[in-house]
């Protein structure tokens, strides 16, 4: 169980402290505190359940960024049971460490995995550029998509980015064009494509690997055109309205599913993906297998047609 608590998890803090103390007493072996420990454990479980049964949009945004949350490579290694070979480079400029990909195996079936990658300590966060790809990352992703298509292998993308990198060189090398090209090419990939938002789904940076036959969101993730913080700073001209912005943007999995902008929600363990990564990996693996089973039964033409029709149907407007 994780010890890094978010602000809204405060009610758990005191209970966990008490539990730690009780366990220390028990270790000394002088007093029997079994029933106290049992009591505390069930209280903690109930408190957590209550907290997590009614999360606000902003709280889910916080969970999506939890420092202990599993990242793309954690999922891939677990799902493939280590049968994964990472492939590097866009064959043009360089290898982008914020975007990873490669061949892996699920139940004897080869799958091409592609995803943004964040780091789990200061050094690695910088190495991964905080999960913000440059144009090379999107072009590397496209190279791997085409490789998968050539050999008729399905594609799974794992989305977790605070945005495409807004740097000077990214502009020079055509960040806009790189993302645009992926939107276009992913629309017509002949193989099944499943996209799963596992953390942050920020705008074009997320969408750049997000055009799929199935787009799924884990329960405590967000997906929108802008982060709540940036939205607050632009529309309210300050950073204090991020919680209101999170509500207004309707960026949670529940909202996005209701609006029919995604195809489904993947349940997380109570306490979030990081509280039980093993359970989370099993759930995601089962989802991939389930959807691939259905998608493999369709012809490439039918899949592409349905994929294009789905995205073309998105949008609400009035006529007349």
């Amino acid at each position: 169980m994780s010890n890094a608590l978010l602000d809204f998890e405060k009610p758990l803090e005191e209970l966990q402290d008490q539990l730690t103390k009780a366990k220390q007493i028990q270790e000394k072996g002088k007093v029997n505190v079994d029933s106290v420990i049992k009591d505390l454990e069930s209280k903690i479980e109930k408190t957590r359940k209550d907290l997590y049964s009614n999360l606000s949009a902003w709280q889910r945004v916080q969970l999506s960024r939890h420092p202990e949350r599993p990242y793309s490579l954690d999922y891939i290694n677990a799902i493939t049971d280590g049968h994964f070979t990472e492939l590097f480079g866009d064959r043009q400029v360089k290898d982008d460490k914020a975007m990873i990909g490669g061949f892996g195996e699920i139940n004897g079936q080869t799958v091409m995995f592609v995803g943004q990658q964040k780091g789990n300590n200061t050094k690695m966060r910088q190495y991964r550029n905080f999960g913000m790809p440059n144009p090379e990352g999107y072009r590397k992703a496209l190279r791997l998509f085409k490789l998968a298509e050539k050999f008729n292998k399905p594609i799974v993308t794992l989305i977790d980015t605070p945005g495409a990198y807004p740097g000077l060189e990214a502009e020079e090398r055509g960040q806009g064009e790189a993302i645009a090209r992926n939107l276009y090419e992913m629309s017509i990939l002949k193989v099944p494509v499943i996209c799963i938002i596992i953390g942050e789904g920020a705008s074009g940076g997320a969408l750049g690997i997000g055009i799929g036959d199935r787009v799924l969101m884990l329960e405590n993730t967000w997906y929108s055109v802008i982060s709540p913080e940036s939205c607050s700073s632009i529309l309210w001209r300050n950073w204090d309205n991020k919680e209101r912005a999170a509500d207004a943007l309707k960026l949670t999995a529940i909202d996005m599913n209701k609006l029919k902008l995604i195809d489904g929600i993947v349940q997380e363990p109570v306490g979030g993906a990081h509280s039980n990564p093993g359970g989370m990996f099993d759930t995601v693996k089962a989802e991939i297998i389930k959807h691939l089973g259905v998608l493999n039964g369709l012809s490439p033409e039918e899949r592409v047609k349905r994929r294009i029709d789905k995205f073309c149907s998105m949008g609400v407007y009035k006529e007349g």
């Binding site: 074009g204 802008i226 009035k318």
Partner: protein
Amino acid sequence: MSWFKRIKEGITTSTSEKKETPEGLWYKCPSCKSIIPSQEHEDNMWVCVKCGYHERIGSAEYFAILFDDQKFEEFNMNLTSDDPLEFVDTKKYSERLIESQKKTGLKDAVRTASGMCNGYPLTIACMDFRFIGGSMGAVMGEKIARAIDYSIKHKTPFLMISKSGGARMMEAAFSLMQMAKTSAKLTQLSEAKLPYISFLTDPTTGGVTASFAMLGDLNIAEPGALIGFAGPRVVKETIGKDLPKGFQTSEFVLDHGFLDIIVNRTELRTKMGEILGYFAH
């Protein structure tokens, strides 16, 4: 004499009025500060006769410039936003829409039409920056998609004139998905082997750049336009120093390999005829 005849009520000029002197007879160029008679400025298609600065214009002016005899059929004129998220920031989005509609006389930030250009059939989608910064919401996505459908059905080339700050935040993820929608739609135009010409004007940034604007068979721009994914202020904050001169201008984007040509507005009509001819013959 104006270079084009103003028909009936005439074209609602999207730009000049405010910037002109009270008498409405003079235009002051924000670039070189020259004072130019309004009529002369308009006759030069709102391009400064002294320095070549391209004043921002709207769909009315581009349609007038490009369509033969200024004749065209406009589509889906009554498509408007439905505010599906009931979005409220410091103001209600629904109120912002009504205000913008009143102020501009437009229904949303893009207009679509078909007609002839130098004797060739052409379907055009053209943005209006005056309408909430040319931002892309569901109406824009749908109108572009339907214009592409029209191009396919009637076998005409498609010209997209972009002038936009990017996504319309008040439509949140709906706005984001218009990038996917329009890009997916363009695959069908491509499948039909019809030319897609993307014309980028000042400014073209954000989600518009990261979708259809960069996907032309030909990417063309007006000189000196701001073209980029991230806005200059954001890039400056990211790198923590001043941006090099000319960063994210049309000329910069062409030098980095993402534009085919830069066309002066005064030559746009002729050049478009030439280009349509290459595809037609």
